[in-house]
Amino acid sequence: MSTQIERERESETETESEADAVTELPSAQEARMRKKAEARADREERAREEAQERADAEDSYHLKVFRYDPEVEGKMEPRFDDFHVPYESGMTVLDALIYARDTFDSSLTFRHSCRQAICGSDALFVNGSQRLGCKTQLSDLDQPVRIEPLPHSEVEKDLVVDMEHFYDQMESVEPYFQTNDLPEGELEEQRQTPENREKVKMSTRCIWCGACMSSCNIAAGDNEYLGPAAINKAYRFAMDEREGEDMKQHRLNIIEQEHGVWRCQTQFSCTNVCPKDIPLTEHIQELKREAVKSNLKFW
């Protein structure tokens, strides 16, 4: 495994400092500490061995994980590491990565937080498709399970990519409610009809994971293209009747610019990969039609 070198170095430094400590303070306390440390190291080693044995013996999953670290010499050249993770029923790709990191290689780096498909931080490229690690069952995948960082974004380290550009595109469509169509009375609520809520329902579900943007061949070639998630965000507000006509026009102006909806070539990649099942292509197409309608004039 890749970290062998590192681990060796670690243990070297550990023994060194221990040796120093022993010569300086040969107290009973030190001896106890050393014994404990040895026992701990033993235990960890045993756990690792056991895990390896278990992985060899039973049902284990073979992961091939993309590794790259620009800051460590010898890891600057991207490569794939193999991990054999003992399978437990219900195990997701994220679970397997966490296991691999905690058991085999603590330098393995990836983002995750909620583990329930709502924070949007673990979109990965798994077996050739953008998926959320925490929402993808290992049992649905062929082995070896190839895990890579999202394509079409710069890799920072291992599975971590730079999301800045994606966030910029999201911000550029003004992803917040705004209106100059306020109801009478200061404390009056801004009500939405159930039908209108139903219309925007799916579009509100975006978790900003970036899977769609990464899958999009057009976004890959045109860095300025707003991308499916940002357009979907624009849809969510443009279709919200509470924002009023002026605001809708403003939103259509944003999405019909040169690198807006018209770049979409209806490849359906985004719709296929969206972990929240948002019908992205449908929303983009509807905005195209809205944009045409608002520009058509019959004199």
């Binding site: 790259y68 991207p78 050739g128 890799v155 380290k157 359906f268 990649s269 197409q285 039609r289």
Partner: protein, 140 residues
């Protein structure tokens, strides 16, 4: 984090095995569209041999004017007949998938976009196979 590793275009091309229906439809549509444009030019250049043949009544009656000679020479070649079958395939797919794209633009049947792509392929295949006897007639 000043450096980062850009995996570049090479790997993008390596992804074709992972394309889904909509992506293939797009690739094929581009390809067939440009083949049709290419054909349009050859078509015009072949047909324009008629310009120099025009008015030469005796040659036309004897069927040895430039235009007739060019056309009958081309049609006697097996390659040309096979290319014609290919052209039909390309045109039929482009038209069928073009209709599919029009429906997609209208927001009709978006859930079945992959099925309509497969349907375009199957229909294209069937039409092309059915046309083979006509296209290859008399060339052997």
């Amino acid at each position: 984090m000043s450096q980062s590793y850009d995996r570049g275009l090479v790997e993008d091309f390596g992804r074709w095995k992972e394309f889904s229906a909509g992506m293939w439809a797009w690739v094929f549509h581009k390809f067939t569209g440009w083949v049709l444009v290419g054909y349009l030019f050859t078509h015009i250049s072949v047909l324009s041999t008629a310009v120099s043949a025009a008015g030469n009544t005796r040659a036309i009656e004897a069927q040895n004017d430039v235009y007739t000679v060019v056309i009958s020479t081309l049609e006697s070649l097996l390659v040309v007949r096979i290319l014609e079958v290919g052209l039909l395939a390309v045109a039929v797919f482009h038209i069928l998938n073009g209709c599919r794209l029009l429906l997609v633009d209208l927001g009709v049947g978006l859930d079945a976009q992959d099925k309509s792509f497969y349907a375009s392929l199957v229909l294209t295949g069937a039409i092309v196979v059915a046309s083979v006897p006509t296209f290859l007639e008399g060339v052997f």
